[in-house]
Structures are given as C-alpha cells and as structure tokens.
C-alpha cells in the first residue's frame, strides 16, 4: 500500500486524452474530478470528497484535466505517426510529464519541501505509470483496429 496507490487511475487520464482529444478529454476529467469533490468515492481505494483537495496528492487530482488535454493535444500533433508510438508518446507527455508537474507542485506546496525532495518522493511512482502509458498505447492500437472512428485524435 502506498500513499498514492498504484492503480489504473492515470490510465484513465491518458486514455481520456488520447481517445477523446484535448478538449473533450479535459472536460471529461474536469467532470470526473468535480463529481469526486461532490462526494463520490471514485478515486483509487474508494477515496473521494472534499478531503482529497487538502491531501498531499491534491495536485494530481487537479492536474487530471490538464494532463488529459496535454495527452490529447500531443496525440493530434503526432497523428501522422503509427498509432502505437504516437499514443505512447502522448500518454507519457500528458499522463506523466504534465500530471507529475501538477502532482509535484501540489506536494511541494502542501508538504513544504523543496522541488528536488518533492520530485524524489513522487518519482517512485513513475515506473508504474510508464507501464500504464504502454497499456494506454496498446489499448489505443487495438481500438484503432476495431473501432477506427472512436479515436478522435486520429480523425482526419
């Protein structure tokens, strides 16, 4: 068990961006995090409610829409590449780079640590998220074959 439980949560963020595109992806994540704030226990481990936004991982929750936007934007930018590498890079950019930017900033503000320490604490979770980026790309590739129209970031 960890403070930021290793779950499929960030996989959802990556897929939202890659599948729905920047705006819809970001809106879907904003809606999700809003409903969590209203009191739905939809985060990993059944967490939810306003307390999430006062905890050490508040930055991640707030970063979800931005991460989905970044992933979607990147996926569109790379749409000339084959599906797998394009969505993999988009998922890493949005779901890891941008998301951790928010997560680390939030942790830094709340824990009063400096950037390096905050980054080191959060870096523990990056390997797991790299695996999730690979899964997101595999899912996108499979969906591209089965339901080509469903991937909004690859419509011409």
């Amino acid at each position: 068990m960890t403070g930021i439980p290793i779950t499929v949560q960030t996989l959802g963020v990556m897929l939202a961006g890659v599948m729905l595109g920047p705006w819809r992806g970001a809106l879907s994540m904003a809606l999700f995090i809003f409903v969590v704030a209203l009191g739905a226990p939809l985060l990993s481990g059944g967490r939810g409610g306003l307390g999430v936004f006062y905890g050490p991982t508040a930055g991640f929750a707030i970063g979800f829409p931005f991460a989905a936007f970044a992933a979607g934007y990147m996926a569109i930018w790379l749409r000339r590449l084959p599906v797998f590498p394009a969505t993999l890079m988009a998922a890493i950019f949005g779901g890891i780079l941008v998301l951790y930017l928010f997560g680390i900033t939030g942790f830094k503000i709340i824990s009063g640590r400096d950037w390096l320490d905050a980054t080191l604490v959060m870096a523990v979770f990056i390997p797991g998220d790299l695996v999730k980026a690979l899964i997101a790309a595999s899912v996108a590739q499979a969906v591209a074959k089965g339901l080509p129209d469903a991937i909004m970031t690859r419509r011409s």
């Binding site: 499929v8 996989l11 809606l31 009191g39 739905a40 469903a150």
Partner: protein
C-alpha cells in the same frame, strides 16, 4: 448509491451546504498562520469532538484516512530531518485537520445539495454560452453510469476467469474501452432522439439578451 454520505441524520446534516463550505474555507485560512503545536492539538480535539457529535457512523469513516498514513510518514521524516519534528508535526496536524473537516462535510451533505450549493458559481459560464443546467445534467449522467460501467467490468472479469484467467488481465482494458465508447454513443443517440439537452426557454432569452 455511490456516495460517502451517511444517511443517519445529525445536526451537521441540517446545516446548509453553502454554509459548511464557507466555514471550511474560513477555517483553512485561519489555520494557516497557527504555528503552535498546542493550537493544532486543540483544533484536532475540536474536530474529533465534531465527528463524535455527528455520531458513530462518522467516527467509523475516519478509516478513510488510513491510505494517507505512508505518505504522512514520509513527509514527517523529511520535515523532521530538515526543520525539526515540531514543525513537521504542526504541518501534518494542519493537513490532517483540514482533510478531516472536508471529509466531514462530504459525509453529512447529500451530493445534490452540494451540487445546488455550487451551481451559482457556474452562472458566469453563461458568458461562454454554457448553461449551468448542462453541467448538472452531465454530473447526473456520470453518477448514473458508474454502476453501469462497474457491471461491464464485472462481466469482463467473469468471462476472463471462465477462460482460465491466464492471459494478462490488463488486456481487459481494450474491450472495456470499446464497450464504454459504444455505450456513450448509444446514450448520445438516445438523447438526440429525445430532443437533446436543450436549454430551457428562460435561459435562451438570457442568451439572446447577451448577444
């Protein structure tokens, strides 16, 4: 129903949602300048007393805090190392109190009450032609489809187990994604067939005036 809400009534349930949210904001502002350990201990005691006054179901929900323990430990160790255990304790107590108070609001406020307390904040979005009612509708849809998607996941898991459960479980994410996209397409079509989520005539007039 998916919610952390405690249906057992208490005095906290009767306080309007907006007032509770405003109090939380004020408390978080007043707690930040407090730098004495005893101040935090008093605040924590008061918070616990508040939980006790709501009743046993609320006290039981304190277990929601346990997933935070490892991260709290890391923060405590790092802070003790650099600025001392006293500062570390104050920081963590402040965080703990605010999380507990925020959770208590969630436990004692129905989601639709929370929604109607927050909806006025969306009114400025009318400038961008977004009707706050659409947001409320989206929230309702999301809540409605959580159990539906849970059932989809359960079916996929059962089928996966029936096949022996040997292949990598992550591959279930593929049919799950395809099924949720199909599902959302169907819902969108059904909504469109019923005339869509049109704004009420009253809000249309507001839009017209703003043009």
């Amino acid at each position: 129903m998916i919610s952390l809400y405690i249906s057992h009534p208490s005095w906290m349930h009767r306080v309007p949602a907006g007032l509770k949210l405003l109090s939380l904001m004020l408390i978080s502002i007043t707690l930040f300048p407090v730098t004495y350990l005893w101040g935090m201990v008093i605040a924590l005691t008061l918070t616990l007393a508040l939980y006790a006054s709501v009743g046993k179901p609320a006290l039981l929900q304190l277990r929601l805090l346990t997933p935070l323990a490892p991260l709290f430990l890391v923060i405590f160790l790092m802070q003790s190392w650099s600025v001392g255990w006293l500062e570390a304790s104050i920081l963590l107590l402040r965080m703990l109190i605010l999380i507990m108070l925020a959770n208590l609001i969630t436990l004692t406020t129905r989601m639709d009450d929370m929604m109607s307390a927050i909806t006025p904040l969306f009114v400025p979005l009318r400038i961008f032609q977004i009707d706050p009612k659409r947001i409320a509708f989206a929230v309702t849809l999301l809540i409605r489809f959580v159990p539906v998607l849970m059932a989809v996941i359960q079916h996929l898991m059962e089928a996966w187990r029936a096949r022996g459960g040997k292949k990598q479980i992550w591959k279930l994410a593929i049919p799950l994604t395809i099924q949720s996209i199909r599902l959302s397409d169907h819902v969108a079509e059904a909504l469109a067939a019923r005339g869509g989520i049109s704004a009420s005539p009253k809000t249309r007039v507001v839009h017209d005036e703003s043009r």
